[in-house]
Symmetry: C2
Subunit: 334 residues, 2 copies
């Protein structure tokens, strides 16, 4: 492998696997000759898809005949299906044969594979999911988007460290402003959970700028929004839900009127720009922070475009040593 | 008072008080001669505004020279400012001189006034804030939108009862489907809080249909969405924030292009319809459920339109005996 970056991609993860997965890898690989790719999955199935891109030289296949289904119990699936496309991809990272793995499969199973196979960075209390989301004039990282259903306040300073490294290295934000998601702006506001977390955040080795409310998040009040995994997951799904609803209703309204239809055609650059900005396919998926290796969780409905973006995030994370910098940051935080 | 309904309105609550408050009351009063209104506030200030509507006969003024400011500490303000417009409005309900009170002032102070002056319905563990929100094809009630920063699972069955009565009587939904906001659909999913709440909800005297995720909420998966006050308040602010962002960006995009501007003009019925649907001014504000009397918390930036909608919700709540039905529902739940 040397200094060359290798990215393992679970060829069977997601609703449109393997076709869209292989297509995404091929697209990215063709324009990034300096990167190597490994697609895991049943050899013939992947090979058949890969034949569509005969010019690609930097993609190989590692055979993995088993498949973990969306509804399977994560921990058990990962433990019992040792030759599944997901487990094989994670093991490539563990064995140093790949620097990152990407899967758009069963989210719980991807987390379980990352944790059980790659393991956590020394000193990390709990890995957490980071997602990149849009605000009015840019992007921010939200941590934890759902890795921990029950979060203790003492995990949050590490969430902040991991989110800061990610915002710096992947979004390119300097000295990212870290905000604690809360239901009031003042330090003494909030639940007993956020009050305790606030105090701990003040001592974290990050640029903590205080509480942020749900509304301010969209105004760009913070580069890193830290919250417990329950609230973070609710937030993620709400944002997706509101976005879908708004676009559905615009479409519905347009369908009902010829005049609106003409208007929509003229407005399409604006509507498309907005749709693109809020599209989960554009954000590169979720990253599992705190793992010994880069682990990217793609959306189950990932198309090739989503895979391309996930690869971009994975490659940037590896190039900028997100894992090493998190390890260092956690050590500094004692 | 007899069988006539009387609604007390805090004339000094909110950023645009007293002008917009009085205007809203006058608008509603002029088309609803069967209702009586009392506006509280400094007599001359309110009178000066009311002079603009000389034809209105069903609005009177009760003098209340003090004002509770937005930044004041709620409990202390309510206790010390006995002749404030808010406290006087709440006291009218307590004394049976009004059936409901509305204030667009300091939210914490409105809650404190309702609790300290009107008191809670017998058997209610914790009052909770209910808000009406839009989904793809209708509306739903979310409880608790922020009255309780720290919520125990055992409060949720009562939140469900209160939300169901409200959805039935104010939204006119029959046998409203109650969903528990959660990060997974199956009963065993979620945080330790939601797992415990789920079990208690199964025994509540409501039409409990299970967990709902953030995305499904916008698809109309439940008529009543029950959650803890922290998550509920985050949810409310996020929805407002996303909505604002989307409309800002549509406006920004339009400003940059003449073609888009033409498109937007043609599309304006669609955009305005959508804006109206997601406008907090249209939803009638938040209701504090579990109080001995109808208490409506208006948005701080309430215009006359928001006040009109708040009055409509207040009147409907009184006409349909929301308070009595909640008292009954709570008794039935043991």
């Amino acid at each position: 492998m040397g200094s060359q970056i290798t990215i393992a991609v679970d060829g069977m993860g997601g609703d449109y696997a393997p076709r869209e997965i292989v297509k995404g890898v091929a697209q990215y690989a063709s324009s990034h000759a300096g990167l190597s790719f490994i697609i895991t999955g049943p050899k013939e199935a992947i090979e058949a898809e890969l034949l569509l891109y005969p010019q690609i030289m930097n993609v190989e296949i590692v055979d993995a005949p088993e498949i973990i289904e969306m509804a399977e119990e994560p921990g058990r699936a990962v433990r019992t299906k040792e030759t599944s496309s997901l487990v094989v991809a994670a093991r490539l990272v563990k064995e140093g044969k790949a620097d990152a793995f990407i899967s758009a499969g069963n989210t719980g199973a991807v987390m379980a594979a990352a944790l059980l196979i790659c393991g956590r960075i020394k000193g990390i209390k709990r890995p957490a999911i980071g997602v990149i989301l849009p605000h009015r004039s840019g992007k921010y990282v939200m941590v934890d988007a759902g890795a921990n259903a029950d979060t203790k306040p003492e995990y949050l300073p590490q969430f902040a460290v991991m989110g800061s490294v990610y915002a710096e290295q992947v979004l390119g934000l300097e000295k990212p402003r870290v905000g604690l998601l809360n239901i009031g702006e003042e330090a003494e506001k909030g639940s007993s959970f956020t009050k305790e977390a606030y105090k701990l955040m003040e001592d974290a080795p990050v640029n903590f700028t205080g509480n942020v409310e749900g509304r301010e998040v969209f105004e760009g009040a913070a580069d890193v929004v830290v919250t417990d995994g329950f609230t973070g997951n609710i937030m993620l799904k709400l944002i997706e839900g509101v976005g879908n609803m708004v676009f559905e209703q615009i479409k519905d309204g347009i369908r009902k009127s010829v005049v609106s239809k003409a208007g929509a055609a003229l407005m399409s650059p604006v509507l498309n720009g907005l749709k693109r900005k809020s599209d989960p396919e554009e954000t590169g998926g979720a990253v599992l922070l705190g793992i010994n290796g880069v682990a990217i969780i793609g959306h189950g409905r990932s198309s090739s475009k989503a895979i391309v973006n996930a690869i971009r995030v994975a490659a940037t994370s590896v190039e900028n040593d997100v894992v090493g910098l998190i390890a260092q940051g956690v050590q500094n935080s004692g």
